[in-house]
C-alpha cells in the first residue's frame, strides 16, 4: 500500500477507535434511536401526509439534527484533543504531513458518522418494514391500496445523510485547522451549518435582478458559492 495511504488510514483507524468510545457518541446515538422509535407513536401528527412518509421524515430529521451536533462537536473535540494532549506533537514529528493528519482525522470521524447513520437507518428500516406489514394487512381488510416500502430507497437516503454529515465534518475540520480554540470552532461551525441550510435564500436573492449595492451582491455571492451546502435529502 502507498505510504501516504497507509499513514492516513492509521490516523483514521485510531480516530475511529477514539471516537466510538466517546460517551457523547453513545448519548446521541441513544437519543436519536429513541427519536426514531418514537416516530411511530407520533404518526397521528402526520399533517395529511402518508403515515410512512411522516415516520421517515421525522426519523431522518432527527438523524440530521443529532448527526449535525455529533459531527460538529465530535470533529472539533477529536482535533483539539490531539493539540491539547500534545499527541499531535508526537505524531507530526513522524514522516506524516499535515494533510495526511487532517485527512485521516476526517476519514475516522466520517466512519463514526457512518456507524451513527447506518445504525439508525437500520432501526428505521425495521420500524418502517413492520409498520408496512401492519398497513398491508389493514389495507387488505379495508380494500385500500397497500403501501410500499423500498429498502433501496431507505439505503439511498441513508447514504445521502452520511454524505451530508461528511460535508459538515469537513467544514468543522477546516475551521479547526485555522482556529485556536474549541469553542470558536464549534460556534463558527454551527454558523456555517445554519448558513449552508439557508443558502437557497442567498441564491434566490442573487439571481433576482435588483439594485443592491456591490457589497451586498458580493456577500450574497460568497454565501451562495463559497459556503458549502450540505446535499438536501
Amino acid at each position: 500500500m502507498n505510504a501516504r495511504l497507509t499513514r492516513t488510514s492509521w490516523i483514521a483507524r485510531i480516530t475511529f477507535l477514539e471516537a466510538i468510545r466517546q460517551r457523547f457518541f453513545a448519548f446521541l446515538l441513544v437519543l436519536s434511536a429513541v427519536m426514531v422509535v418514537s416516530s411511530v407513536s407520533l404518526r397521528f401528527m402526520d399533517f395529511g401526509h402518508s403515515e410512512l412518509k411522516f415516520v421517515a421524515d421525522f426519523a431522518f430529521g432527527g438523524m440530521f439534527l443529532f448527526g449535525s451536533v455529533l459531527a460538529l462537536v465530535m470533529t472539533a473535540q477529536l482535533f483539539f484533543a490531539e493539540i491539547e494532549n500534545r499527541t499531535a506533537l508526537t505524531l507530526l514529528a513522524k514522516p506524516l504531513s499535515r494533510t495526511e493528519f487532517l485527512l485521516g482525522k476526517f476519514l475516522g470521524t466520517w466512519a463514526v458518522l457512518g456507524v451513527f447513520v447506518f445504525s439508525l437507518a437500520f432501526l428505521q428500516g425495521v420500524i418502517l418494514w413492520s409498520r408496512t406489514q401492519e398497513l398491508i394487512v389493514l389495507a387488505a381488510e379495508t380494500g385500500r391500496v397497500a403501501p410500499d416500502f423500498s429498502v433501496s430507497g431507505l439505503a439511498s437516503f441513508a447514504v445521502l445523510q452520511w454524505l451530508r454529515l461528511g460535508v459538515v465534518a469537513a467544514m468543522v475540520l477546516m475551521v479547526s485547522a485555522v482556529a485556536r480554540t474549541f469553542l470558536f470552532t464549534v460556534i463558527v461551525g454551527a454558523m456555517a451549518i445554519v448558513a449552508g441550510q439557508l443558502q437557497w435564500l442567498a441564491q434566490e436573492a442573487l439571481l433576482k435582478p435588483s439594485d443592491a449595492s456591490v457589497v451586498t451582491k458580493s456577500l450574497l455571492w460568497i454565501s451562495s458559492r463559497v459556503i458549502p451546502q450540505p446535499p438536501a435529502v
Partner: protein, 285 residues
C-alpha cells in the same frame, strides 16, 4: 552545513509575536550548533531558554524566523529527515485506550516500517525499553516511568539514526531514571546519535559525550563534557608536582616519605555548578 553532523543548525532565530500589539519575543537568538553523529549530546538550559523551541524547529513542528537546519545531511522538516529521526516529547501523552503494543505498532506504521517487519520492530523496541511484559496492558494503567519507556519504544521502533529525547526522566523515580540511562547507553552502543534535553545534570554528565548550554535563547557554551568541566587554570596534584623539576624533586621527596606519583590531572567541577554559574539570574528574568 556539514554532512558529518547529525544536526547542523546555522544562525537559527525564532521570534514569537505576543499580545494584541504583536510584541516580539525572541525565543532563539542566532543559534549555531553542530551535533556530531554517533554521540550522546546534552542540550541544557533553564526553563524558557529556548531548548524546546529549538527542538520543535529542528523537528519541523514550528517554522524558524531565520536560519537553516539540516538533519543527517537533509533539510529538516522533510519526510526523509523525519524518517531517520525518533522523538520522545516532554511528558508524553498517548491514547489511553490503546495497549502499549498497539501504540508502538501504530507509530511503526506511521514511521514507514513495512507491514511484514512491524512485528519484529515492535518486539525489538519493546525489549529495549523493558516494556515487553506490560505491552498488552492499556496505556491508561501505566505509571509515569512506564509512560516514558513506552514513549521511548515508539520513538525508536523504526530504527532511527537520530533520537531526540525531551526530558525523558521528568517525574521518573531514580530507578526508572537509571533504567532510561541504560537505554540511552544501549542506543549509543548501536551507533545512534542521541540528543538529550534534561534538567537532571548528574545524569547528563554521566551519559553525554558533549553538552551545549543555552541561556536566554543563546548558546553560552558547547563542547565535550570532559573539556567543559575541566578547570584548566588549576591543577589537582593527586600525588606530586607540576614542573618536571618540581615533579622530580617532589617525587624524590615523596619517595623519601614512601609516596609515589600515580597521575597528574585537572580538577573537575560538577556540571551542576557550571550550569548554575552560566545561567545565573535567568530564572528570575
Amino acid at each position: 552545513m556539514s554532512t558529518s553532523s547529525a544536526i547542523s543548525v546555522q544562525g537559527l532565530t525564532k521570534d514569537f509575536r505576543v499580545g494584541l500589539r504583536g510584541i516580539k519575543l525572541r525565543a532563539v537568538d542566532n543559534l549555531s550548533l553542530e551535533i556530531p553523529r554517533g554521540q550522546v549530546f546534552g542540550l541544557l538550559g533553564p526553563n524558557g531558554c529556548g531548548k524546546s523551541t529549538t527542538l520543535k524547529i529542528v523537528l519541523g513542528l514550528i517554522p524558524a524566523t531565520s536560519g537553516s537546519i539540516s538533519i543527517l545531511g537533509s533539510p529538516s522538516a522533510t519526510s526523509e529527515a523525519r524518517q531517520r529521526t525518533g522523538f520522545l516529547p516532554e511528558a508524553p501523552y498517548f491514547h489511553k485506550f490503546l495497549t502499549g503494543r498497539e501504540l508502538v505498532q501504530y507509530c511503526a506504521r506511521l514511521s514507514g516500517v513495512p507491514a511484514e517487519k512491524v512485528g519484529e520492530a515492535v518486539e525489538g523496541s519493546l525489549e529495549l525499553a523493558a516494556m515487553t511484559e506490560a505491552a498488552n496492558r492499556p496505556i491508561g494503567t501505566y505509571s509515569k516511568g512506564m509512560l516514558q519507556r513506552i514513549g521511548l519504544a515508539q520513538a525508536i521502533v523504526h530504527d532511527p539514526e537520530l533520537v531526540i529525547l525531551d526530558e525523558p526522566t521528568a517525574g521518573v523515580d531514580p530507578v526508572g531514571s537509571a533504567a532510561i540511562g541504560r537505554m540511552i547507553n544501549a542506543m549509543r552502543a548501536k551507533g545512534k546519535t542521541i540528543v538529550l534535553c534534561s534538567h537532571l545534570l548528574g545524569q547528563v554528565e554521566q551519559v553525554c559525550d558533549r553538552v551545549a548550554i543555552m541561556d536566554r535563547g543563546r548558546l553560552v557554551l558547547e563542547g565535550r563534557v570532559d573539556e567543559v568541566l575541566a578547570q584548566r587554570d588549576r591543577h589537582v596534584i593527586t600525588v606530586a608536582d607540576l614542573t618536571p623539576q618540581a615533579r622530580q624533586a617532589a617525587e624524590a621527596a615523596l619517595a623519601a616519605h614512601g609516596a609515589t606519583v600515580t597521575s597528574i590531572t585537572h580538577p573537575r567541577r560538577s556540571l551542576e555548578d557550571l550550569f548554575r554559574e552560566l545561567v545565573t539570574g535567568s530564572r528570575d528574568a
